[in-house]
């Protein structure tokens, strides 16, 4: 029997779908990008106010801190671990650093403040790494412990006072403009200088993961830790590097958070970690490790930030935010898993 015209017509569309499926399997972040475009498109149609430069710059500004966190979480996730202590690392370093700059060393230049908080975060991260390596328990449980440890330390021994007036150099850094222009209604819109930190950190992370031996090692450990260690990768070095790097990013994110908001609240940040993990997972990184891209992570962050900020614009009450993000995580997880099984 000759093939009917129907099957002939269907054949190209099947191969197109297979091509799309292969693309999604190879680059799961395609879905994230599509989702992002779809959401932005819908919102722009429902409420054209969304496409104003002010909104877009707000989204860019809001994604800096979360993006830095997400890069740290992503690199740990790529190696098959998970970190929930990064918010506590950020809170502890940002608050201690602010106290230090305010009362003990008031003349500290901003560059040194940024450097010190990055180093402080790295130090706390190294503690995480050592504990994860030597205790040999899932890193989720270890980092839940250190989250409480760091935050408890901050609140019991360093302070619980909300610092409203920052040292001048920190406030100035938060206001320093990268790009400034006037909107149609006369208001000045500023893209702050600290926004640059995110692309730089993203590039650095990309470079580490794709161009260095450490990057190879991280994905190898994420794929199968036993085999990686038999191949001669030192798990101890990798764990220390991973958590140290994530801690450094968290420390940097913390101090930027303070400068951007012009206040240091010790109760801040902790509690937002699930949003960040959600962003990384929505960006296509598998939670069991070994996969993911920096680009995908950034798309995931944008997706979460956009969802958080547009719900109100399209008239959905902000109380729905958690439910929507939670459902997105489950949908993304289910989607990626079913895709992988068809391989």
């Amino acid at each position: 029997m000759t093939p009917s015209s129907e099957t002939l017509a269907a054949a190209p569309s099947v191969s197109a779908r297979a091509g799309f499926g292969a693309l999604v399997r190879r680059r799961p972040e395609t879905i994230t990008a599509l989702l992002l475009v779809a959401i932005c498109g819908t919102v722009a149609v429902v409420n054209p106010a969304f496409l104003q430069p002010a909104t877009l710059i707000d989204i860019g500004r809001a994604s800096v801190v979360m993006g830095l966190f997400a890069l740290g979480v992503f690199i740990i996730l790529a190696a098959g671990g998970i970190d929930v202590s990064f918010t506590a690392v950020a809170a502890l370093t940002m608050y201690s650093m602010t106290v230090l700059a305010q009362s003990i060393l008031p003349d500290l230049p901003i560059a040194v403040i940024l450097l010190l908080s990055t180093l402080g975060g790295a130090g706390l991260g190294v503690i995480n790494g050592l504990l994860v390596h030597h205790l040999k328990v899932p890193s989720l449980i270890v980092t839940i412990g250190t989250q409480y440890l760091y935050r408890g330390f901050l609140l019991s021994f360093i302070g619980t006072v909300w610092i409203m007036s920052l040292p001048p150099q920190m406030g100035a850094f938060g206001r320093m403009p990268l790009l400034q222009f006037s909107a149609a209604n006369g208001a000045t819109i500023t893209l702050p200088f600290y926004f640059l930190v995110l692309p730089v950190a993203a590039l650095a992370t990309w470079w580490i993961l794709n161009r260095t031996l450490m990057g190879r090692a991280i994905f190898a450990v994420g794929g199968n830790a036993d085999i990686a260690s038999r191949l001669g990768y030192s798990l101890r070095t990798i764990h220390i590097f991973l958590f140290g790097y994530a801690g450094a990013l968290a420390g940097l994110a913390g101090i930027i958070h303070v400068c951007a908001n012009r206040q240091a609240n010790p109760f801040d940040l902790v509690g937002t970690e699930i949003n960040v993990i959600a962003a990384v997972v929505l960006g296509g990184a598998r939670i069991t490790g070994g996969t993911g891209t920096v680009l995908g992570t950034m798309l995931g962050v944008l997706l979460i930030v956009v969802i958080n900020s547009v719900l109100v614009l399209v008239g959905i009450p902000s109380t729905w935010q958690r439910l929507v993000v939670g459902s997105f995580i489950l949908l993304a997880a289910a989607f990626f898993v079913t895709r992988q099984r068809k391989k």
Partner: protein
């Protein structure tokens, strides 16, 4: 199973030690009133910890992070549904019974969702329960509009929260009873055997023909039902239910499970140890309160304690404390299933 006796003996010793310290610090620590008030605080967190233990025992990265969110959702949803059907002052008994039933059903349903997602769709438990935690909490926010929902104190419900039988709080009795039931299920039924063996070696369990999906679904459904029960007790004790009640319970439930010697990688855990470690944690918490320390110091102490107990589990320090003969040859590492 070689550490079984040691862990139990250590927990009993810790409890006795804490009671002794309490008695030394303040004469009123061992007063009936203080003991009652401590006992009535254990059940909420204890029930959640048993849920975490079951999920951990199932192995393959099993953990239930959605416990407290589901407990709050059960309370909130039940309060919203039942207050629209009955009045808590006029038909107190009907209100209470309906409240308990709906809360347990919501818990069961939430647990089933977790179980189905993990067993059928193969989503990693951490990710799945992270997502459902957010979804459950989000649903509770949506249902309650972000505000506390008043349950009131109808006779039956308030007696669960506040009354005593023979000087023991009813909620504590319920907790002990439920814990005993779960312990019996784990020890004497095929389900318990499957659960532990599957946690020990998931791959071997599949080749041995265990009903993997059934065991997983049952485990998370049971954990969810326990959360529902915790939601009932929270409502009974607090008159109001709110979506963000007990935000630190997530860590504490895991801390209790780890302190009880439950292996995070699966295959081992005892309910009685979880009960004892929940009690020990409550004693410690009350001691810190008696010492006039702030909640933040307590958080710090919890973190330190969790890490300490992880180290104890890792280096088998229990062997030094409790005299248990250990086999000379350590058991070979269990190969983990790659997927």
């Amino acid at each position: 199973m070689r550490r079984t006796g040691g862990q139990l003996a250590m927990l009993v010793a810790i409890n006795l030690f804490l009671l002794a310290v309490g008695a030394l610090i303040s004469g009123s620590f061992l007063s009936v009133f203080n003991l009652q008030s401590m006992a009535s605080q254990v059940p909420e967190i204890g029930l959640l910890a048993i849920g975490v233990m079951l999920a951990m025992c199932a192995g393959n990265g099993g953990i239930d992070l959605s416990g407290i969110a589901l407990a709050n959702l059960s309370g909130v949803m039940s309060a919203v549904i039942v207050t629209s059907l009955f009045s808590s002052t006029e038909s107190a008994t009907a209100f209470s019974l309906a409240f308990i039933l709906v809360a347990l059903l919501v818990g069961l349903a939430g647990g089933l969702i977790n179980g189905l997602l993990i067993a059928r769709l193969n989503i990693t438990p951490i990710l799945c329960t992270l997502g459902t935690q957010m979804a459950f909490m989000g649903l509770a926010v949506v249902l309650s509009g972000g505000k506390a929902v008043t349950v009131g104190s109808p006779a039956l419900l308030s007696s669960i929260g506040n009354d005593m039988i023979a000087e023991v709080p009813i909620s504590f009795l319920i907790f002990v009873l439920v814990a005993a039931l779960v312990a019996a299920a784990v020890k004497f039924t095929p389900y318990g055997l499957w659960l532990m063996l599957m946690g020990t070696n998931p791959k071997a369990a599949i080749y041995a023909g265990f009903p993997r999906n059934g065991v997983l679904i049952a485990t998370y459904a049971l954990s969810g039902t326990l959360s529902g029960l915790a939601g009932v007790i929270i409502a009974a004790r607090n008159i109001n239910v709110k979506f963000d009640y007990g935000s630190s319970y997530l860590l504490i439930a895991i801390l209790i499970a780890v302190m009880a010697g439950v292996k995070p990688e699966g295959g081992y855990g005892r309910v009685i140890c979880v009960v004892l470690s929940a009690i020990a944690l409550q004693l410690m918490s009350s001691l810190l309160n008696f010492g006039g320390l702030s909640n933040f110091v307590r958080d710090f102490a919890w973190g330190l304690l969790l890490l300490t107990f992880l180290a104890v589990g890792r280096y088998d320090i229990t062997g030094f404390i409790a005299p248990v003969r250990r086999p000379a040859i350590p058991s070979p590492p269990v190969p983990q299933a790659s997927k």
